[in-house]
Amino acid sequence: MTEKPDYAICHAYTTLKSQDDLKFFVQLSCELTGFNEVDLYGTGQVLTYYQIITDYLDKKDAKLATLFSGLSSTLFSSQNETYLHKLINGHGQPAKVAASLIKLWYLGQWYNPDNANDTMIPSSQSYISGLVWTAIHAHPQGAKQQGFGAWSFPPLSEDQGQA
């Protein structure tokens, strides 16, 4: 198990390489998750996750911007989709890193790209912020209570749920 750093006090500002780096991380995260910048910043997890991925890549002397250098700066373009599709269906390092990053955003849980058994949830907040709960029109189990009796009402229909 990786030792769990104290993400509650986020050191990301000190490890922050540059604003450009962070911007790239957020854009890549949007492309990989299907959620927009506001959604991602709204989780409060951007800096924590940025630090996790940077810590991991630093040990390998790698950089996010290099691994995904074909990404254009237009958000959610079909060009980006085709590019990522190819990368993710490949077997290289970018595919593994992308998969871990998607899981981190969706589940609030980090899986070491080199060893899936090496996993941790950085904090209660990251668990609660998992995007999966929004995607499935529910709420994180054990948080964001919906209120007495909410469960007896019909679930959100698909079009109501679209962002």
Binding site: G34, L107, Q141, Q146
Partner: protein, 596 residues
């Protein structure tokens, strides 16, 4: 309740010592101290009984646990060890599986667990509180199998009412009057039933025209009584009403179930009952981190003279101080497996030869699938309704009864969902971006899981034993378990699974169930594979009966062999029927309290 240290405990004389602070221990502590007895509760595990901060720490542990098993919020501790679901594995033929606390000798592993901490397993139980059906108490007379209880439904009736008040059960009487279950005139539960889930309604509507095969009757989907706070019933207690019990340490919250969808393992607002709600109001002393290791028995008259205990300080060290606690009367409430282990370690309760035997659970068989439309999975309490037709019937001569539970949390059981599905989409389908999001939106809200919780009959061969070869860090005996699931239950499960498939078909649910041959509960029935799973209903190890030759305790849970010893909990139950056992066990404890 006052939490004290062992120096103070040793300096005082107590009339009654209770071992364990779960349901049985807490209820008896409150009842007996209410009758002005001086009572000490001795608890093996650690914990601060009144701290809301500690509860929040547990919630935090749950949220950050990468595997969300029932014991996830409650750390294991080597001085008062507890079984963990993650330790359950197939038992090698002729060998043992001992990687967890239990020493499993097979042929199957015993798959259910408990918690050893202040509050016991009440910290993580689910909260389902159905009564037993009257025939459950007379399996031998009515169906020619197993044994009869020394008591019947009507004996227990007034004690059920007391238990439902103390635990705070939400239900409507008219929903619960089926298969012979009846109530005293004018009775109402303390709180109105918990609203049924959208899924329950969808099931009821979809199954309205379905008939139950051999019984030829319409299906009965009924709200299940639950120990979670709902709207108080103003007609309760002859018009006195009922005040729900909120969280221990912060009663302003938890006054209603707020839909946190995590009753098991932990309700963040404590709208789901735990035994500390009872213990906090008991005028008793509580001594924690004190493991009772042995009862000291007077060889002349069988009376218990005292308890040999080990007081530990720190989980990182096996250092302990040995103390000896005296009282007039002793009550074991350490749960079915620990009660038996302790009595075996003490050479107690030998007359019947039944001690440690008849270990039971409710083996459950699952079916899961995808509904044709979103049914709102992962919202609300985990279980709000059950299909109850097969809880009783003539078929019980040959095969086990079962209750069909309609799960509200999709494939959270048997998987770790929604995680597992998400991971599968990412790793296997290489989904990402909008497509991943849409796939999850489409699929997970359609997830349905039912489980058929099946009766297990008592058997001599299913038992708790001890051996000098197997001890824990403090040198106390570990439970050595022998466990099998017999053809009566297997036949019940095979029928139940088939019935579950019919229900799915009727509702247009695409069945996605698979039974993995490497699972601990795998079995073959006429060429088809099935898997059962444990559900935590540990019972039967010190059963009650009519005399010292057929049972360990009498109807009041008093040990036949030791006149100042009571052995309480689900271990006293001679048979288990198809109901979650705690409300019945709590009723037995209220009956016990009348002997004082």
């Amino acid at each position: 309740m006052r939490q004290i240290n062992h120096h103070e405990a040793l300096s005082k004389h107590y009339q009654i010592i209770i071992v364990g602070s779960g349901f049985a221990g807490s209820i008896l502590a409150k009842e007996l101290s209410g009758k002005n007895y001086s009572v000490l509760v001795v608890e093996a595990g650690t914990g601060d009984a009144l701290s809301f901060g500690q509860h929040l720490d547990y919630v935090d542990r749950y949220r950050t646990a990468t595997i969300k098993i029932p014991n996830a919020p409650f750390p294991n501790c080597s001085n008062a060890p507890q079984p963990m679901e993650t330790d359950v594995e197939p038992v090698p033929k002729g060998g043992v599986s001992a990687k967890g606390y239990f020493v499993q000798t097979g042929p199957y592993p015993f798959a259910s667990t408990f918690t050893r901490r202040v509050g016991g397993t009440s910290l993580h139980w689910f909260g389902s509180c159905p009564r037993m059906v009257p025939d459950d108490f007379a399996m031998r007379s009515v169906y020619g199998v197993a044994v009869d209880w020394p008591i019947d439904y009507d004996f227990l009736q007034p004690f059920y009412e007391k238990a439902e008040r103390e635990i705070g059960v939400s239900a409507n009487v008219q929903d619960q009057q089926y298969l012979g279950i009846h109530f005293s005139p004018g009775y109402v539960y303390p709180m109105e039933r918990i609203p049924q889930s959208y899924l329950d309604g969808w099931f009821s509507k979809g199954l309205a025209n379905m008939r139950v095969d051999e019984l030829g009757e319409p299906v009965m989907v009924r709200s299940i009584p639950q120990a979670r706070n709902s709207i108080p019933n103003p007609r309760f207690d002859g018009g006195e009403g009922f005040t729900p019990k909120g969280a221990v340490g912060d009663p302003s919250i938890g006054q209603r179930c707020m839909g946190n969808s995590s009753c098991l393992p932990i309700c963040p607002v404590q709208a789901r009952y735990n035994s500390l709600k009872t213990l906090q109001h008991a005028n008793v002393d509580l001594l924690t981190k004190t493991v009772v290791s042995k009862l000291d028995i007077d060889p002349d008259n069988g009376r218990i003279r005292g308890l040999e205990c080990k007081v530990w300080r720190d989980d990182r060290s096996a250092d302990f101080e040995a103390i000896y606690l005296k009282a007039d009367t002793f009550i074991l409430a350490a749960n079915a497996i620990q009660n038996a282990t302790l009595l075996l370690a003490s050479g107690a309760c030998k007359s019947s030869g039944q001690l440690g035997r008849n270990l039971m659970d409710h083996p459950a068989i699952l079916s899961w699938g995808l509904a044709p439309e979103a049914i709102g999975a992962f919202r609300g309490p985990g279980l709000t309704s059950t299909l109850v037709n097969y809880r009783n019937g003539k078929f019980r001569r040959e095969r086990a009864g079962f209750v069909l539970e309609i799960g509200n949390w999709g494939w959270n059981w048997p998987f770790n969902d929604p995680n597992d599905t998400t991971i599968r989409m990412i790793d296997e389908q290489h989904a990402f971006g909008r497509q991943l999001r849409d796939s999850l939106t489409d699929m997970v809200p359609r997830q349905v899981r039912i489980d058929m919780m099946t009766e297990q009959l008592p058997s001599d061969a299913n038992r708790v034993e001890i051996s000098p070869d197997w001890r824990d860090a403090l040198g106390n005996f570990r439970p050595v378990l022998q466990y099998n699931v017999d053809d009566y239950s297997k036949q019940g499960m095979v029928f139940a699974r088939d019935f579950g498939s019919k229900v799915f078909k009727h509702l247009g649910i695409a069945d996605e169930t698979t039974f993995d041959p490497s699972s601990y509960g795998y079995f073959d029935w006429k060429g088809n594979g099935y898997v059962w799973q444990g559900v935590g209903h540990i019972a039967g190890t010190h059963r009650m009966g009519t005399d010292r030759h057929n049972s360990v305790v009498d109807r009041w849970q008093r040990a036949w062999d030791h006149e100042n010893l009571y052995v309480t909990g689900c271990g006293s139950m001679p048979t288990l029927g198809t109901s979650n056992p705690t409300i019945t066990m709590a009723a037995l404890c209220f009956a016990t309290a009348t002997r004082f």
